[in-house]
């Protein structure tokens, strides 16, 4: 970089100055002192920023950043500011290396984030070894809460079973399951396989007739062959277990091919719905949260998010936002950054505002945050704006029902903390 360039650009020079100041401060302050609590609390945020999960990762960063800004504006936690270190997790190997570095070199007080279940497992292993808290915000695999569960991992994201039961309830209500022939299309990797397993279990238990399941490569973008196959097979219902950009493209092309067979799926994100657009979105889908949730705290969050980022928040932003807010609350209430005290608080009889009608809580035996979910489908309002061409259902489970009705029971998904 030439001198003329640096001096010509003020923000860059300021950055440089801040950088050197921070560096000097870091050198002057031994790691020991920082670990004892003089410096800021550090949260390591890892999430995929590129690849087919990248669009969601982008919102994850916006949500996490906003939560940190709000906490710091309110005076921080324990009199300390929160510092967010955010990085692209890329894939399980890189996620593991970066988590390791954040824990050992950066001495983070907690890890937050991730979307891919495979990377989430890698980070959880690092967190468990280092006895560091990991609030995971986007990994769906049931196994992370069961066979691979960890005392140091908490799940802000719903698990596959919760998604399947949410859409399952809607399908049962509409008479779309018993005796109906159904075809499945599944993302060909761990998440898709697990989701298909849960979907098939639900459909089998409720008397649906299985026709076929096609595993589609995650890098496929064009689905005409599959869509022609659907027209040929004429099932009563098509179920998608696809992921990321696959969902966007499959949904759009389903509409383009004008297939009049009911279409539903077991996983959906608002980025996929917006990506498909008003003329491309089709089917009925489960979702953990949308900006159309009418709870006052949700609408307040939507307004703040729009003001801060000039765009409408989606579900992934909410998970990462909540993870940091809940973490800050736990530290504040326990007056400590000690991992055992925080775990005890989160496992305890404490409820959290999760931007929905009812408050949510972590189940002590598997650390799953339970909360209301929703279904989402195209709306009838032709004049709806570009963010609002879909409609969000009332909360599932309904007002009088047990909030844990969607999540697997202890018998169904056994978790033993080591």
């Amino acid at each position: 970089m030439s001198d003329s360039k640096t001096s010509a650009s003020f923000p860059r020079r300021r950055l440089l100055l801040q950088g050197s100041a921070a560096l000097a401060a870091g050198l002057a302050m031994p790691g020991l002192v920082r670990a004892q609590g003089a410096g800021p609390l550090r949260i390591g945020h890892l999430t995929p920023r590129t690849g087919f999960l990248g669009p969601m990762g982008e919102y994850a960063v916006l949500g996490a950043t906003m939560a940190v800004e709000e906490v710091n504006a309110a005076g921080g936690v324990l009199g300390r500011k929160i510092e967010l270190l955010t990085e692209d997790s890329v894939n399980p190997q890189t996620a593991s290396t970066k988590a390791q570095r954040m824990v050992e070199r950066d001495k983070v007080d907690a890890l937050v984030g991730e979307i891919s279940s495979a990377s989430g497992l890698a980070i959880a292993q690092v967190a468990t070894r280092a006895k560091t808290l990991f609030m995971q915000t986007g990994c769906n695999s049931d196994e992370l809460r069961g066979k691979n569960c960890s005392r140091y991992m908490f799940h802000l994201e719903a698990c596959n079973t919760m998604y399947v039961r949410t859409i399952g309830q809607a399908l049962l209500r509409d008479g779309m399951v018993k005796g109906k022939k159904w075809m499945a299309f599944t993302a060909d990797y761990a998440f898709g396989h697990d989701l298909f397993k849960q979907t098939k279990k639900f459909m089998d238990e409720n008397g649906a007739v299985f026709v076929s399941n096609d595993m589609l490569p995650t890098d496929a973008t064009e689905f005409s062959a599959s869509l022609l196959k659907i027209r040929q097979q004429k099932p009563d219902l098509v179920m998608s277990n696809l992921a990321g950009n696959q969902t966007t493209n499959f949904t759009k092309q389903y509409n383009e091919f004008n297939i009049d067979i009911p279409f539903a799926g077991a996983d959906m994100n608002m980025t996929s719905i917006w990506g498909a657009g008003k003329n491309g979105f089709s089917g009925v889908w489960p979702i953990i949260w949308t900006h159309q949730v009418q709870a006052p705290s949700a609408q307040d969050f939507v307004a703040r998010f729009r003001k801060r980022w000039n765009k409408t928040p989606e579900n992934q932003a909410v998970n990462d936002y909540l993870a940091i807010k809940i973490l800050a609350e736990a530290m504040g209430k326990t007056k400590s950054a000690d991992v055992d005290k925080i775990i005890a608080y989160l496992e305890g009889d404490n409820k959290f505002d999760v931007l929905r009608e009812r408050q949510g809580y972590f189940r002590p035996w598997d650390h799953q945050l339970v909360y209301e979910m929703y279904t989402v489908q195209p709306g009838d309002d032709k004049k709806a704006g570009k963010d609002d061409f879909m409609v969000t259902s009332k909360p599932v489970p309904g007002a009088g029902e047990n909030l844990e009705a969607l999540a697997p029971t202890q018998e169904e998904n056994m978790c033993k903390f080591a």
Binding site: L216, P217, E222, A225, S226, R231, Q232, K252, E256, K278
Partner: protein
């Protein structure tokens, strides 16, 4: 006719159509390589730019005008890149142009990500092209049939330009013996600029056509580029008809694999490439290449 056979015929027809999308991208890649010896790893990035342009220009210009302006704009961009960058690499070590175009593709992809965000942009098929054609058991969306005609016209136009015009004669002579062409007092520089404009413009056109179907997002170029390379390698470097035949073959094989065994639909391209390279290393219709030998 048994229904199963009709299904298979429909998948073959669909595969041929998919082949034309691959062809639009592979053709530009092939002619730029043939004349300039440059393996353009940024070709997919120009395809992505075409898609982003139609999304943004449609709002202000309307779909029809944006449809014409976007590929032309990408072509002009290609000419600028040729004039200021590619030109430096024609006589240099091929590794340098590989490195340059690889870097260029990353710069473009990240720039798209910074400007427009990582989320896919929504873009729909224009109103007038909604609907499907149904003949007996045969069924196909109107938009895709329209795409087919546009792609055929573009490929035919390219063939005519390269084979029936004085410009085409210079291009062919330039491929065979650039030094002799220069010795005869014909400058190859403007020809190269035009060829890059044409090839990159075709990639832009493919982006414009596919934008409403496969979604518009920063990494879209990378996804299609690998398939385009497979087509060029199978077809044989430097062969127009080789690329055409290879594109159709890749489309049909991929379509049929998606029907009979979907998990292998992407892998089928590479198996086909492996098979062809083992049996016929120069590709289906590839000629012996002085540049490579």
């Amino acid at each position: 006719m048994p229904t199963e056979l009709i299904f298979i015929i429909q998948q073959v027809a669909n595969g041929l159509l998919l082949g034309f999308y691959y062809l639009l991208i592979a053709l530009g890649l092939s002619i730029i390589f043939s004349l300039g010896g440059i393996v353009n790893l940024a070709h997919g990035a120009f395809y992505a730019i075409g898609a982003y342009l139609i999304v943004f220009l449609s709002d202000s210009l309307g779909y029809g005008l944006a449809f014409v302006v976007s590929p032309v704009a990408v072509g002009v961009l290609g000419m600028i890149v040729e004039r200021f960058f590619f030109r430096r690499f024609y006589r240099a070590d091929p590794t340098l142009s590989l490195l340059f175009t690889f870097a260029l593709s990353m710069v473009i992809e990240q720039a798209l990500r910074m400007i427009f965000g990582a989320s896919p942009l929504s873009f729909s098929i224009p109103e007038f092209a909604h609907g499907q054609v149904i003949v007996g058991d045969f069924f196909y969306p109107i938009y895709r049939i329209g795409m087919l005609f546009v792609a055929i016209a573009a490929v035919a136009g390219t063939w005519l330009l390269l084979n029936k015009t004085a410009f085409g004669k210079i291009v062919k002579a330039g491929i065979n013996d650039p030094d002799m062409v220069r010795a005869m007092g014909i400058s190859l520089n403007p020809v190269m600029t035009a060829v890059c404009g044409l090839g990159i413009g075709l990639a832009g056109l493919a982006g414009v056509l596919l934008a409403p179907i496969t979604g518009v997002q920063p990494a879209m170029g990378q996804e299609i580029l690998t398939a385009a390379f497979v087509v060029v390698v199978i077809g044989g470097l430097g062969s127009f008809w080789g690329v055409v035949v290879a594109a159709m073959l890749v489309g049909v094989i991929r379509g049929l694999t998606s029907y009979f065994y979907p998990p292998a639909s992407e892998a089928s391209l590479y198996l086909l490439m492996l098979l062809i390279l083992v049996l016929r290393p120069r590709g289906l219709l590839g000629e012996k290449f002085e540049r490579l030998e």
